[in-house]
Structure formats: C-alpha cells, structure tokens
C-alpha cells in the first residue's frame, strides 16, 4: 500500500499532500460516484483526522472516508453495503479473463453510466484493485472483509460492467 510521510509537526502539511488529496478524492468518488459528495466526504475525513490527530497515511485517510460514507448513508437509512458473507466465496479468479478489450467508451459517458449502476462496494473494490493496484488481501484488510468476498466483488463488478455495456450495445 502507498504511504505518505507524516508531518513532523502536528499541523505541518504532510509531504505529498496534493497527491494524497487527489487519490483520496478519487476513492471517495468511487464510493459516492458524485463529485460534490466526494468533496464533502474528503472534507469530512480531513476534519475528522485533524480533530483526532490521526495519521495522514493513505490507508488511514481511505478508512476515514469509508467510515464517513457508511455513517452518512446509515443516517439516511440507505443500505449500500450488503453483506456477501452468506454467498459462496470466490475461488481464485483469473482476472485476465475479465480484462476484455472493447470500444473506448470513456468519451461518451457510457462507462460512467455503467459504473453508476454498480453497488458502491463493487465500485470501491474495482477502484482499489484496478486504479490503486491494491491486492485482494490488501483490500480485505482495508475494508474488513474476507479476501474471498473481495474476489467475488471484483468478479461480479467486472461481469456486471460487461453486461451493462452489452445492454448499451457497446460490447457485442
């Protein structure tokens, strides 16, 4: 996992803070899939870390953002994180099978639409694995889920994306 050097003094801006804020914003965006909400989550997390004197390491900031996200949706009585513990855990999955090639759909927003249709936990797992390059074991540690559940989430997210893009007639 990436680690950013903590500040030497309590209120010194940590080294690499710009990069950390960008990564953290993108993680918040992967959860909320909404720019304004991602900024709010990031701000809430920064306030919380300052108030508690917590660490500015990426894993800690991500965990704080995640807790804020869960808190606010619990308060609004929305259920976004559903337990997968009762489902069969994914066996070792060959993710190269799921990294298919297709038309570049980024330009016309179809990928954004498809990602919006995923559950927050599926987008989160996908983001951490594909964008941040975390291993399933690291994601399991960060999100307090079994590794097998993370593998299931990743498999399911990719399969759903493929189905959604097929429905949009982007993929054959």
């Amino acid at each position: 996992m990436k680690a950013f050097k903590p500040a030497n003094r309590p209120h010194e801006v940590p080294d690499g803070i710009d990069e950390l804020l960008e990564h953290s914003y993108r993680y918040a965006f992967s959860l909320a899939h909404d720019a304004i909400e991602a900024e709010d989550l990031l701000q809430d997390a920064c306030v919380s870390i300052l108030a508690s004197g917590g660490s500015w390491e990426q894993a800690y900031v991500f965990a704080t953002i995640r807790n804020r996200f869960i808190d606010r949706y619990r308060r609004n009585r929305k259920i976004l994180f559903l337990s997968l513990d009762l489902e069969p855990e994914g066996s070792e999955i060959n993710h190269s099978d799921l990294n298919w090639s297709g038309p570049d759909v980024l330009q016309n927003g179809q990928l954004s639409q498809a990602l919006a249709s995923l559950r927050a936990e599926e987008r989160e797992a996908l983001f951490l694995a594909v964008v941040e390059g975390y291993t399933a074991q690291e994601i399991a540690g960060l999100t307090a889920r079994p590794r097998g559940t993370i593998l299931s989430l990743l498999y399911r997210a990719k399969a759903k994306l493929r189905d959604l893009l097929r429905k949009q007639q982007v993929l054959p």
Partner: protein, 193 residues
C-alpha cells in the same frame, strides 16, 4: 472505433476525476490551521451527511434546468432547514464575527455580521465551509440568549443565487429567512416560535 482494455478505461476514467483546485487549496489551508479545529460533536456529523445529499440534489437540479427565483429561494430554504435540523460539525469555534473572518481564509468573499443578528442579540458560536446552490458558503451557528441555535448561510450572489428573491419560508418546523445584505445572500434558519 478505438479499442482499449477495460482496466485501462477504468483507470482513465478515474484519472479524469479530481477535486476542484479551490477545494484542494481550502483543505490544505484547513490542515495548516489544524490547531483551530476542536474535537467534533457527534451531533454535527448527521448534518454534514444530510447537507451533502441536499447539495448534491440542489446542484444537480441547478445544472440541468434554469429555476425561477422563487424556486431557487424555496430550494435553498429547504436546504437550510435540513442543515439546521440535522446539525453538522463545526470547523471553527469563535467568539466574534471578526475572528471568524480571520479564520475562514478560503472564502471568496468577506463575511459580515447581518444587522438582524445584532438586533436579535444572537451570539456567534462557530462555522464550517459549505455550499449553497453550488456556490461556496459559510454556514455559521448562532445561539440566542436562551441558547436556542440558529443557522446562517452567507454566500456570494453568483449564478443561481444572483436571482434569488427575499422572503420567508416555513419548512419542517423551521422558519427560514432569505435576503441580501451588503452584497451577500443571507439564509437564516431558526426554530418557529
């Protein structure tokens, strides 16, 4: 048509997302002045969550259609009422408006103390950064002599806020006043008498 691996497309998609420069500047400023941040009161967390959702809805709506001035006023009144009821964490605790002006350095306007607050003998408690109809705003907590809280939003009258009309609204047991003063939009939410 160009083809690309889906993983590369996902990476490109998230690489194209980023916080607004003013947000990064504001957060860095907040981290620098972190000493001023006091321990949170849990009750303020809910308001942060609710306000974010209301703001998201508000900004999405604003981005997709041009609202009438009355509709904009009604929408920000609902937002202010919800924020007032939910309570959100304060980023700054101050004893005067002048102190708050010094601390909220990332605002793109200068805070003022509305005449109404002086007339009502309201005491300032603290504030946090917020947005109002997509514009950066200060969300300021006041209490009256009996300790009853009021929530005041101040923002520059840009875009939709430029067309907002003054008026009184009643939302979920909250009385919301909208007006302009010294070039700023003011939205005050307080309990109905």
């Amino acid at each position: 048509m160009n083809t690309k691996k889906i993983d590369d497309q996902i990476r490109d998609y998230y690489a194209s997302q980023g916080p607004a420069p003013h947000t990064v500047a504001r957060l860095k400023q907040m981290i620098r002045s972190g000493a001023q941040v006091r321990p949170r009161r849990r009750t303020w967390l809910g308001m942060a969550a609710a306000l974010a959702i209301v703001l998201t809805t508000l900004i999405w709506t604003a981005a997709h259609r041009v609202e009438s001035p009355q509709h904009v006023a009604a929408t920000i009144a609902r937002q202010a009422a919800l924020a007032h009821n939910e309570k959100q964490e304060l980023e700054f605790r101050v004893a005067s408006c002048a102190e708050l002006q010094r601390q909220m350095k990332s605002l793109d306007f200068t805070l003022i103390e509305p005449a109404m607050m002086k007339e009502m003998n309201m005491r300032i408690v603290g504030a946090r950064y917020a947005t109002l109809a997509g514009e950066m705003a200060a969300q300021i907590l006041y209490v009256d002599s009996h300790g009853v809280p009021c929530t005041l939003f101040e923002a520059r009258p840009a875009d939709q806020l430029a067309r907002v009309v003054a008026g009184e609204h009643q939302v979920d047991g909250v009385r919301v006043s909208v007006w302009k003063e010294k070039g700023l939009v003011m939205v005050l939410a307080r309990p109905m008498a």
